[in-house]
Amino acid sequence: MSENLLDIKNLTVYYYRDGKPIKAVNDLSFSLGKGETLGLVGETGAGKTTTAKAILKLVPEPQGKYESGEILLDGKDVLKMSKGQLRRMRGHDVAMIFQDPMTSLNPVLTVGEQIAEVVRLHSKVSRAEATKKAQEMLEMVGISGSRYTAYPHEFSGGMKQRVVIAIALACNPRLLIADEPTTALDVTIQAQVLELIKDLKDKFNTSMLLITHDLGIVAEVCDKVAVIYAGEIVESGTAEDIFDRGTHPYTEGLFNCLPRLDSEEGERLNPIKGLAPDPMNLPAGCAFHPRCPYATDACRQSNPKPVEIEPGHFVKCHVRGIGKEDA
């Protein structure tokens, strides 16, 4: 079925330091349909950004290595693309909004040039037309077109993020990867930027992979959610599946971490015990078992397979998946 715009199958990416592998992404699979928004949720260091960069084949090499798996974009494996194919894909089919707007713009080029650059790369237009298009993009993200000649240092963080968004959307990509697009911004700007991304996405019917650790943003924007832990998807399903019927102990833990307005006075937050595992030294069996309150011997011995507990809702857990396998 090629209905899906993006199909990631068993992707494994390691980084190497002193010859030892850092297991950033382990046997990770998910798919994303046309026009859908998938939220990829997980702690810092869970492999979210590596996954995102892998889709553009931008994991820094030679430190990073794609060990196995495929990333099918419209049925074509990104990891097997030639350099020319990659260049035509990047920015045109798939565009990325980077995490930190402060550092992801080139300080010595004007913001306009940086938007026009991607326009000129993917459509045969004259310099003047590219400039015009770049000005339009600036207007679209709410910055006056006359600021075309401004340099990044003249902009605030929120404005820089708007420019980054304008670059990403300039060629109407079919897939937009937003890597924590609002983490570096303060709350009032966060809301504006999210609203902007949502509007533009609807306008161009773009699919989006939203990477975040903020469950609030996921609830607001995403159709589907995948929870990532130690480079593996531990639970995936529709937003309702995860928010209302979250089953994996880790998902449960994530929601327990959220502060609640209606909590009793003096009630404390309920964090997940322990720390995220060291990707150089992942625990045997299920990577979450040392922190899992329900862990059994089976969890310590073997890594569970994903089980479909209701249509489209997958859980990778010995305890929670069991029994429903046959149902």
Partner: protein, 326 residues
């Protein structure tokens, strides 16, 4: 921006005064008497005293210094060479074209070669190219130029007879001195480019440029090199400034009539006015080149430009607005 340049030029005055004081001081306390040196050991004390008076070497240190500076300020007179009896200004200006040509040639060669080698070695880090460039840089910085110059002469002038060993008038005569002088700076520029580029190509905006589908070569040159350029320009400017004041060893080895050779000869015969004038000239060259380098920074990095012209920042913005209305 103009205000900034004006300020920097005014700041040259105390710098030059300071340099002149230090040089004057050092020469004053150097043992040996040029008057005696010029007249020979048989001269009578009276003749020596008369000569000292004529050379302006009588009086206390302060008197001599004030007399020297006074002449420079009022008549732009840096004194007269003891050996040729021509004014120091003429001596310097006569030799400057040779020195300037040599400095410029070796700067262009070292900038082009150094930046290319540095980029290759940064983008192919830890490969054979990188190791070879690093080895070249190590050899280049550690090889003394007088020895390297002599080796060049032995091989290319005496054995192969490709180039003449001395003089600096025809292009064939330019080749060896340029190589000799350029090798050291090429090595420094290579090392600086490598480390600067290595830092820059790990930046997020480089990943952004790649994510746009940009050619890798454009990513490296347009997005990388421009950001890495500042320390590279500093290194290039520094060595250019120093070489403008004369490459003493290279000029001496290849017998090039330039500022460096003039200084070496002048020191040997205690030709004080030439030494003083020469050092002042070297200081001036370095300061001017430094100023140019700082202005280049502003051209490359808009953040620095904004700093230089803080008060004028609003003007272009206002212009833009009126343009928009029109």
């Amino acid at each position: 921006m103009l205000r900034y340049v004006g300020k920097r030029i005014l700041m040259l005055i105390p710098v030059m005064l300071g340099v002149s004081l230090i040089v004057f001081c050092m020469i004053y306390f150097t043992p040996g008497d040029p008057a005696e040196y010029m007249l020979g050991v048989d001269a009578t004390p009276e003749a020596v005293a008369a000569m000292r008076e004529q050379l302006g070497l009588n009086g206390t240190f302060l008197e001599q210094y004030i007399r020297y500076i006074g002449k420079i300020i009022t008549r732009f007179d840096f004194g007269t060479s003891y050996s040729t009896h021509r004014s120091v200004t003429t001596e310097i200006l006569d030799r400057f074209p040779n020195t300037f040509r040599l400095a410029l040639l070796s700067m262009v060669v070292s900038a082009v070669l150094g930046i290319i080698l540095g980029i290759i070695s940064a983008t192919k880090q830890y490969t054979i190219f990188d190791n070879m460039a690093s080895a070249f840089a190590l050899i280049g910085t550690s090889m003394p130029s007088f020895w390297f110059g002599l080796m060049l002469i032995i091989w290319f002038c005496l054995k192969l007879k490709w180039f003449p060993p001395s003089g600096f008038d025809t292009p064939a005569q330019w080749v060896l001195p340029t190589i000799c002088l350029g090798l050291g700076s090429t090595a420094t520029v290579t090392r600086q480019t490598r480390s600067s580029m290595l830092e820059v190509i790990r930046q997020d905006y480089i990943v952004t440029a790649r994510s746009k589908g940009q050619l890798e070569s454009v990513v490296v040159l347009k997005h990388g090199l421009k950001n890495a350029m500042m320390p590279i320009i500093t290194v290039i400017g520094n060595s250019f400034g120093v070489h403008l004041g004369g490459a003493m060893l290279t000029e001496t080895v290849f017998s090039i009539p330039g500022i460096g050779k003039m200084m070496v000869d002048a020191i040997a015969i205690k030709n004080y006015p030439v030494v003083q004038g020469g050092v002042l000239f070297i200081a001036l060259c370095s300061s001017v080149v430094n100023l140019l380098v700082d202005l280049l920074y502003a051209y490359i990095d808009p953040r620095i430009k904004a700093q230089y012209s803080k008060k004028k920042v609003k003007k272009p913005a206002a212009n833009q607005k009126t343009k928009g209305v029109a």
